[in-house]
């Protein structure tokens, strides 16, 4: 039995735990939850004891009890009834007061932090998230845009505008803040703050169609210095590697690929052990990259019409209906937070998008746009595309 109860505590420590909070908004929500837990817990103990006592004491135990004369036929006691009503109302006041306080606190960035708050616009698509930084304008290209991984400065209030281009979605990073929905024709917003640098899991929390289960994202909080460096790098155009740059890395394509099948996990224990550390590693170009292969991949990226939906700022990609890929190589995940951004996983995503995320828009409007013929990327092409996309650090 103790083992069983101990197990329950382990059940509350996942990467999306609402108990292991990392910011003031999630904290205030947890505090309200504890208040409700205490109040209802105390009422439960009292009511349950009385119920148990009544059941055990008045239970018929034998044939004699069964056939005993009927008990007094009392119809109730108004005094008892009314005082119990009063007591319940009183108990609810204990919940109501902190609830009201937290409603106002959670609604918007506190006045004192308004000046320093960072504004971000998050737009949901079926089934991924776009993030824009309106305060970070790039000449001729509008605001800085990224996808599925939101990078924020720790210790600073973040005010997020929530938009959607299609159906209703919901923005939820449990460790930082409760969810707020993204609804068409409705300008919602939420605010959050990460106390310390960290790597946080988020997920769409409103049913939004076939791939709702795999519409995920990450929030990465960095200290001020790292954030500034990241920002400078992101605002730069895509990194360009041409066939003449350096010598080919022979080892680069030395991975074997076999399709692991539908819903196969796309995460590794090594990454989970230190996700933020892994994120930093992802920011630097790979040592063994193969410039020839990268150039081939860049060409394929045009030939396979990827550029129609995906932007690669400073290069050929101009589309806006899919995630911006200018710095895709520096993101830790692909396919909306579903797979870690490894060569193997990117290869899998490029060659079998429908197996990874059934019915996703890259599949329905790109690979299989007429519903009959399927546009294929073979093993060799996939390796070149992986090399190109991973070079976009």
């Amino acid at each position: 039995m103790p083992l069983f109860f101990g197990g329950w505590l382990n059940w509350l420590s996942g990467p999306q735990s609402t108990f292991d909070v990392a910011g003031p908004v999630a904290k205030s929500q947890l505090d309200v939850f504890y208040v409700t837990l205490w109040v209802t817990g105390i009422i439960f103990v009292i009511v349950a004891s009385v119920l148990t006592y009544a059941t055990l004491k008045y239970k018929a135990r034998n044939a004699a009890d069964e056939h005993a004369p009927t008990p007094p036929q009392g119809h109730g006691n108004p005094l008892v009834e009314l005082s119990l009503i009063a007591a319940s109302v009183l108990a609810l006041v204990f919940i109501a007061v902190p609830t009201l306080k937290a409603i106002w606190y959670n609604y918007d960035v506190p006045a004192a932090e308004k000046q320093t708050a960072l504004e971000i616009t998050s737009t949901a698509y079926q089934w991924w998230f776009k993030f824009e930084y309106p305060s970070e304008q790039i000449d001729g290209a509008g605001p800085l845009v990224t996808a599925n991984e939101l990078v924020i400065p720790a210790g600073r209030a973040i005010s997020i505008n929530l938009r959607t281009v299609d159906v209703i979605h919901s923005f939820w990073v449990p460790k930082l803040a409760g969810k707020v929905d993204m609804i068409p024709n409705r300008g919602n917003h939420l605010w959050l703050k990460a106390d310390k640098p960290g790597y946080f899991w988020g997920q769409c929390a409103e049913y939004c169609g076939e791939d709702h289960a795999v519409m995920r994202f990450r929030v990465i909080a960095l200290d001020a210095k790292d954030y500034a460096a990241w920002l400078a790098h992101q605002k730069a155009p895509a990194r360009s590697v041409t066939a003449d740059d350096g010598k080919p890395g022979a080892t680069y394509t030395a991975y074997t690929y076999t399709n692991p099948g539908r819903n196969a996990p796309g995460y590794t224990a090594a990454f989970d052990a230190d996700p933020l550390g892994s994120w930093f590693k992802w920011q630097k170009p790979e040592a063994d990259e193969d410039p020839v292969l990268i150039a081939k991949g860049r060409k394929l990226f045009q030939e396979k019409t990827c550029i129609g939906c995906h932007a690669v700022r400073g290069q050929e990609g101009v589309g806006v209906s899919g995630p911006d890929l200018t710095h895709i190589g520096s993101r830790t995940t692909i396919a909306a937070g579903l797979l870690e951004n490894s060569k193997f996983n990117l290869h899998r995503w490029l060659t079998d998008p429908n197996g990874v995320k059934p019915g996703n828009k890259m599949w329905t409007t790109g690979y299989n746009s007429d519903g009959k013929t399927v546009f294929r990327i073979d093993d060799e092409e996939a390796r070149a595309l992986v090399a190109y996309l991973h070079s976009l650090k």
Binding site: W11, L12, S13, P15, Q16, S17, T18, Q29, V32, F33, T36, T40, V47, A48, V50, L51, A54, T55, Y58, K59, A60, T70, P71, G74, H75, G76, N77, P78, I85, L92, I95, A96, I103, N106, Y107, L162, V167, W172, P174, G178, K179, V180, I183, P184, N185, R186, N188, Q203, A205, Y207, G209, E210, A213, V214, R262, N263, P265, Y267, A269, G371
Partner: protein, 648 residues
């Protein structure tokens, strides 16, 4: 149309002999066999039809739930596809709410309520039959999807716009799964509203002499409140569905964002219906519990007026809390605060009921029969569900819980631990009355414990899943989220629960054929229906009872001489009126409902000309229904039914 005398105008004499009638209006008279069921106007038979259909769909919905639990047993599972999973949770919810719990409640309303108020039928017997056939038509339409290319509806039981609009729910040309869902729910709404209007009139107008409102059994009170909730809340969803149907079929703009449509409006309309719906599901079960606890405690319900008024308060406040389903839609601080407080307020009348049930037990002689076990299980589980409900009422806490498995745990505690336990208790309780046989205590209790344990093992871990950040309606999850153990435990629990349900029904079926026979009033119960022989005769009461107190039958049992004298007098009076008047059976409720079904199926397929044909059959059915008149015949207690056609 039926209740008023169809008397001749002044000057024409009443007809002594059975008149010549056109073949069209020859009333069916079969008392057994298929025709008797298809044409029945007997509230008990209609109740049985509701019950059997509801239990069938309960098993269908349960099967869907098991597929869901198998898929979630382990992370990254490939048992069913995302698409199929989405169909499963959509249809599981729709089926359990509209095709299982609501009709099972309707079965009790039909069978038990008229008996409890000492009536011989409902106010409009043919309309009652019509409500059932329309229900069946709606159920068929909702489930057609499984058998056609479109697939079953997959937009969630809440159907949030704009996921249901043409742009997002039309994966291929002619995908009608969402149209089926819209049409099915509209037709079920028609059935529910018609049925409820009938119950309202019946309870208000057909009570036996002396059965004042404050002497009504609590189950009858809850029937009345539920009926009012239905007639006042279903219009909201019906109009929302009409608007959606207009969008999908006639290109209007209600929820089209590009034309300025507000998808949030759908949520408001849906939950203005959806929250009262929660009470539509739970109040009947509370009524059943309020019958069972006094019977097996062998004392009257504690605080009857408070139980009744708290039921009314719940019903009333139920219309003012809908937006607590929308705490995460960015309503703004004032609205969120107001709905938070209203939601807390509704916990008070609910808590009051629990206090009064405990008060009923206090000082009683508790007989731990199977119905009592289920009733106590209800009190415990409903308490759990109530407490997690209070947690949701605190909007900031709800921001984390909304659309997570915590909510799934909460409403299953209320709907299974509450509604379903109450209804299963009711089946056990009234089984001897309806079938004249009693379930073995051993097997009954075994099924109770299997269901109770299985239920808790399934749903208790879900609280943890939700607080650990697992969102609802997700077909797969990764193994690194800390959700694996709880999900596996939950799936194991689901199978224990399933075994419990199988045992429950197997025992019921065996009891139906081979159970121990019982005599009148096997539980020593308190309300009027137990004064009837088992099974009750078609006309229910040989002599309409006169009610002298709350717990009317208990009074009869303690004042036998007085009652016997009274009965003899009333029997004589009734005989002088020509015997017991009963309504005639009719084909036309079924006829009209079939027209509705045909019209609806063609409409869903956008074959509007043919749909008009279906509508014409419906109108013709109603026309014949009106033209044939209420009819009626007299039952004489010597066993000789005298059919005298339309006039009497």
């Amino acid at each position: 149309m039926e209740a008023t005398a169809h008397a001749a105008s002044a000057g024409t004499e009443a007809h002594a002999a059975a008149p010549k009638r056109s073949w069209l209006f020859t009333r069916p008279t079969a008392k057994t066999g298929i025709v008797s069921w298809l044409t029945t106007v007997d509230h008990k038979k209609i109740g049985m039809l509701y019950g059997i259909s509801a239990l069938f769909f309960f098993l269908v919905g349960g099967f869907e739930a098991l597929l869901i639990r198998i898929q979630l047993a382990v992370p990254n599972n490939t048992f069913i596809s995302h698409q199929t999973y989405n169909e499963m949770f959509t249809m599981h919810a729709t089926t359990m709410i509209f095709l299982a719990v609501m009709p099972l409640s309707a079965a009790f309303f039909n069978y038990i309520m008229p008996l409890q108020i000492g009536a011989r039928d409902v106010a409009f017997p043919r309309l009652n039959g019509f409500a059932f056939w329309v229900f069946l038509a709606g159920a068929i339409i909702l489930n057609i999807g499984w058998f056609v290319k479109s697939g079953a509806p997959d937009a969630g039981w809440f159907g949030y716009a704009p996921l249901t609009s043409k742009a997002y729910s039309d994966q291929f040309a002619g995908d009608m799964s969402t149209d089926l869902w819209i049409m099915g729910l509209q037709i079920l709404g028609v059935s529910s509203v018609i049925g409820s209007l009938n119950f309202i009139v019946t309870i208000i107008n057909m009570r036996a002499p002396g059965m004042t409102m404050m002497r009504l059994p609590v189950f009858t009170w809850m029937t009345l409140f539920t009926a009012f909730l239905i007639i006042l809340s279903f219009p909201a969803i019906t109009i929302a569905l009409v608007e959606l149907m207009m969008d999908r079929s006639f290109s209007s703009n209600f929820f089209e964002a590009a034309a300025g449509g507000l998808p949030i409006l759908w949520q408001h309309l849906f939950w203005i219906f959806g929250h009262p719906e929660v009470y539509i599901l739970i109040l009947p079960a509370m009524g059943i519990i309020s019958e069972i606890l006094p019977t097996f405690s062998r004392k009257p319900l504690f605080g009857y007026p408070i139980i009744v008024f708290s039921g009314a308060t719940i019903g009333f406040l139920g219309f003012g809390v809908w937006s607590h389903h929308m705490f995460t839609t960015g309503m703004g601080t004032m609205a969120t605060a107001a709905f938070s407080l209203m939601t807390m307020a509704i916990a008070v009348p609910t808590g009051v009921k629990i206090f009064n049930w405990i008060g009923t037990l206090w000082g009683g002689h508790l007989q731990m029969r199977t119905p009592m076990m289920f009733a106590l299980g209800f009190v415990w589980m409903f308490m759990f569900g109530g407490f997690s409900g209070i947690m949701h009422s605190a909007a900031p806490a709800d921001a984390q819980q909304q659309d997570s498995y915590f909510v799934v745990a909460h409403f299953h505690y209320v709907l299974i631990g509450g509604s379903v336990f109450g209804l299963l208790a009711g089946i056990h309780y009234w089984f001897p009355l309806i079938f004249g046989r009693k379930v073995s205590e051993f097997w009954g209790k075994l099924s109770f414990w299997l269901i109770f344990i299985g239920f808790n093992v399934t749903f208790f871990p879900m609280h943890f899943l939700g607080l650990n950040g697992m969102p609802r309606r997700t077909a797969v999850y990764d193994g690194n989220m800390g959700w694996n153990d709880a999900n596996l435990v939950s799936t194991i629990g689901a199978f224990i629960l399933a075994i419990g349900i199988v045992v429950y029904f197997a025992v019921m079926i065996r009891t139906y054929f081979k159970g121990e026979k019982v005599k009148i009033d096997p539980w020593d119960a308190r309300t009027l229906e137990w004064s009837l022989p088992t099974p009750p005769p078609e006309h229910n009461y040989d002599v309409l009872p006169t009610v002298h107190a709350r717990d009317a039958y208990w009074y009869e049992k303690t004042h036998r001489e007085e009652i016997a004298k009274e009965h003899a007098e009333h029997a004589k009076a009734e005989a002088s009126h020509g015997g017991i008047h009963m309504p005639s059976q009719s084909w036309f409720p079924l006829f009209a409902a079939i027209g509705l079904l045909i019209g609806a199926i063609f409409f869903v397929n956008h074959m509007f000309e043919w749909a008009i044909g279906g509508a014409a059959i419906f109108v013709l059915g109603v026309y014949f229904w009106a033209a044939e008149g209420p009819g009626g015949y007299h039952v004489h207690l010597d066993g000789d039914d005298h059919h005298d056609g339309e006039k009497h």
